[in-house]
Symmetry: C2
Subunit: 318 residues, 2 copies
Amino acid sequence: MRIVVLAGGIGGARFLRGLKQAAPDAEITVIGNTGDDIHLFGLKVCPDLDTVMYTLGGGINEEQGWGRRDESFTVKEELAAYGVGPEWFGLGDRDFATHIVRTQMLGAGYPLSAVTEALCDRWRPGVRLLPMSDDRVETHVAIEVDGERRAVHFQEYWVKLRASVDALAVVPVGAETAKPAPGVLEALAGADLILFPPSNPVVSIGTILAVPGIREAVAAAGAPVVGLSPIVGDAPVRGMADKVLAAVGVESTAAAVARHYGAGLLDGWLVDTVDADAVAEVEAAGIRCRAVPLLMTDPDATAAMAREALTLAEEVRG
Amino acid sequence: MRIVVLAGGIGGARFLRGLKQAAPDAEITVIGNTGDDIHLFGLKVCPDLDTVMYTLGGGINEEQGWGRRDESFTVKEELAAYGVGPEWFGLGDRDFATHIVRTQMLGAGYPLSAVTEALCDRWRPGVRLLPMSDDRVETHVAIEVDGERRAVHFQEYWVKLRASVDALAVVPVGAETAKPAPGVLEALAGADLILFPPSNPVVSIGTILAVPGIREAVAAAGAPVVGLSPIVGDAPVRGMADKVLAAVGVESTAAAVARHYGAGLLDGWLVDTVDADAVAEVEAAGIRCRAVPLLMTDPDATAAMAREALTLAEEVRG
């Protein structure tokens, strides 16, 4: 079975680990969000791709969900001693090596997809990891500072400001002219199943869908498209998805997120058991819906979620 | 007193520390060799500038003479795990930060001289450190490999091959079109004293002199030019200077190095007491010469050497 997953960072990566356990023989292609990529210290950092790669490759800091295990921060301390920031972005020494290799390869002319493949040669994540695009896309968030509207990089909004102010708009700068990376459209067209893990619907999956051609390929795919709600009990399971949902006028409920994707895209939707009320509303919108436990508390619970998604896909397929 | 010093790496840096002790009120400008600069992992590494900066700024690994004290090698280990080399060049985590800052600033359009000044804002070396040029100059060494002549980067010859094969030629690639960095010619013209520390006469001081305008400015300067022999008892005090001296047809003796610079450049030359025989030969070549202890065994011995250089300069000045 060929499964294609549109993934952001921590939530997507953890779900993928469960999916690999639930469907060990599946051929999994991951289309990773690159809208939160950022240049730091002259290096190209791809937080979501790396979180998927480290998580599936056994290098992740499990507690934190991002970054490397057994990490040290010597380089960062030295950069601070030079007065060079930002200090709010936690790049460790092991992580720096990844960004150095990536930046060197990009500088030598390799596209991000080839660089990602080379990095995965080491990590062997057990999935084919594709960036959504080889072109630069950078998610900016409009906020108000001292009465003035200002756009900041998504990482500045998310990591530095911790989404403490309202997001007025979320703009994937560059998306309108970006092309899907090689293999992305082919994977979607050839998929037996397309999954939206419980990643952020706006800044992760929304950004991937903003690359011209990808939303259309998902909608046109013969395969069922099944998603898992990142909202449980009217609040994001992790992160601050409610802030960016508000920016696009979507309520932070499992049903509202399903309607936001819409029946044109989604065939099936899983909500948590605490949101069982939402099932009828989602089904009324033309999307098959089931209420199952959706907390990725451990790998087994996550694998059970993935199995529920596979089951729902079978139901949809009929 | 305004002193200008043409410096390579370890020998130059240690001498400068002694000079600062010997002449605490002098205004010292260092013209640093950049011919051994190298791009590693996409980063610009300036070994000689950094050795001067770290040594005078208190950050040097004293035993080794280069690199940072209390260094760790996490980034390098990770790069090796990605299969990315070279592994023969020992970049530590603290050192990496310097190269990251430098590369970021160069990428933003700052010339190397401005970058060096910014790095020195942290290290406060107590001297004005100027790269010999803002233009790229890269010393290549011609060697014979399997009967074929091949050019390798100086660092490959020096660090990887440890000068274990003969150097057939030493070529400062790019020197012929390089311009002296801002301040270099002005410093030489305004100097009260110009010193050649016991740095490598070919790949350190020779490379600096190869930048058009610098040799001429040294020769034309009103100030005495005094050098210290890096050869003691017919062998280099450290490093493998004999290998590159042979490539330019110069014997590894204190007298031969003085004659190599020549009376057109040098006014005074210090040889070690074991080379007292050389004094007459050097003076016969029109260069005032004294035999004094020239081993930089500790900071006080080094300061004593610097004082001898100042004394010889006074004699020359007459």
